[in-house]
Symmetry: C2
Subunit: 314 residues, 2 copies
């Protein structure tokens, strides 16, 4: 619903002051928002209480951000769902705006993640369920979608351990890998060229907040990728089912980077240039491979086990 009214120009400066904006919002029982359009010596004040159109600028932006190229260029991310939006806010990500529908308050887990107060702030825009569903990536939309600035944490210069994702193209697998990487507490993740974008909406959903918890560096170019990883001062380990030694046989307490590669294509020629130590995860029953996210996670948890054992010994 959009309505508007005209006020004299002389009142504009007064109105634009924050406390007056607040007063007007309380007065009109709305939380959104003003657009000023100069018409001679008057100002047209447009008050939008509810986004009802899928052609609204914010709705169009969310839809545009589904495009990989546009998202990368704009350095923005779209988060959907109570848990993910709440995680992003808790980790200090700067929200551009939050879209919600009345349904969000009906969710049984609403109070676990939010106070109602947030939704009366100017960053929160109410929409109809129909409009928010039109930009939702899930079957049953929880009624909350938000746009944030992309996190910009940097991997430390001398990391203890790093995960390198080599051409991981499946969003579910990359999300799961990031989730495990954040859970074991790696110092960062490097995503190679030809991988899916770790800030894609499906990867964010699979990551369950991992993207806000650990630094992730995305390389768009193999030359830059090699340059970056060579600067790390770590030993490289590469999962390869044809390797001689299993991950149980390796000493994994020194600084390391573990490389996991696409199941479909195997390790890329670029990661082979790093002369990694190859290892396999033992397998029975003539199984040829594990799911890539499982293989990476099993390795990372073996690293964690060995490091905890060293700490307990000392």
């Amino acid at each position: 619903m959009i309505f508007g009214f005209v006020i004299p120009y002389r009142d504009v400066c007064q109105l634009a002051k924050p406390h007056n904006v607040d007063w007007l919002k309380r007065r009109l029982a709305i939380n959104n928002i003003f657009r000023f359009m100069l018409a001679k010596r008057h100002v047209y004040l447009q008050v939008c209480t509810l986004i009802t159109s899928v052609k609204n600028e914010k709705i169009k932006l969310v839809r545009a951000l589904a495009d990989n190229q546009y998202r990368k260029a704009s350095k923005k991310i779209v988060c959907e769902g109570l848990r993910l939006v709440s995680d992003a806010l808790k980790k200090g990500l700067k929200p551009e705006f939050i879209l919600y529908s009345e349904d969000v308050f009906q969710s049984t887990s609403f109070q676990q993640y939010f106070s109602k107060q947030l939704f009366s702030k100017p960053i929160a825009w109410k929409t109809t369920q129909q409009v928010i569903s039109s930009i939702s990536d899930t079957v049953t939309c929880q009624g909350i979608v938000a746009v944030f600035e992309q996190p910009s944490n940097v991997i430390p210069l001398r990391p203890d351990w790093v995960l390198i994702c080599d051409k991981i193209q499946d969003p579910g697998n990359l999300g799961t890998l990031l989730r495990s990487a954040a859970a074991v507490g790696v110092d960062g993740v490097i995503v190679s060229p030809e991988s899916t974008d770790p800030y894609g909406i499906k990867v964010l959903r699979g990551g369950m907040g991992a993207q806000f918890a650990i630094p992730i560096t995305v390389c768009e170019d193999w030359k830059l990728f090699l340059q970056l990883v060579r600067e790390l001062d770590v030993s490289f380990f590469l999962a390869d089912s044809k390797a001689e030694y299993s991950h149980y046989d390796l000493h994994l307490v020194e600084p390391l980077a573990v490389i996991v590669s696409s199941e479909a294509h195997g390790p890329s020629c670029y990661v082979r240039q790093l002369n990694p130590v190859e290892f396999k995860i033992p397998m029975q029953n003539s199984m040829e491979s594990l799911n890539v996210a499982v293989a990476g996670s099993v390795f990372l948890y073996e690293v964690l086990r060995q490091r905890r054992a060293v700490i307990q010994k000392n």
Copy 2:
């Protein structure tokens, strides 16, 4: 393409002999198939060289088998793709029929899995690419879909280790869990009620042949489920992020069953009745949980590590 011709009744018995069928197949350069229809003292021999209709009985059967209830009742499974069909044949599963299109021979990995001979056998039915794509569950159909009898291996009475899937509803997660379970070499997997069917086409794809490698018991009823698992003579372990001890702290060399539960709903009240030892997988960065397939796999590989260590010691 279907064509037919009429032959005298007296030749029918002769024609029906296997070596004559083979001769006719060579003669007509076809590999499919005969239907006899009696018309007075003659027989109408119908030769179907190519399935061109999506209304063909076999195509309709494959489509019907996408339905969970129908598939469970019929005890049949649908496998798609070179790798999976080849795996099922290698593990001795009995094929009902194999559907293929000319495209299957173009695949670069064709020779890795098949000899062309198979496709001249009466179980192999050629279809158009359009028809086979209509029953394919993948974006780019490899041109091979087959129907098999469901595997019927039984979990041994005194297993060393078993995986119990408690209400795992995501096909990708169940497939990945089965794949890991087959890879570590568990003695069997028990799938609880309210789980997705391990023989669904997406789970088969995720399992990468696991369903043919290890015994899987599907329980449709919680009472039967409890009865079955109580008979196992194992200790139960349950993944729960709120548990006090981590899986590293547990002694895992005695016979055991590990229970992994749905991320969305947590452990069911029924598995709690088994008084399982609860364990957590350690997590940093305020991550609340791991992907269920990762959690299960990380635990199974810790069991394998401990058991290998015992063997190496002795």
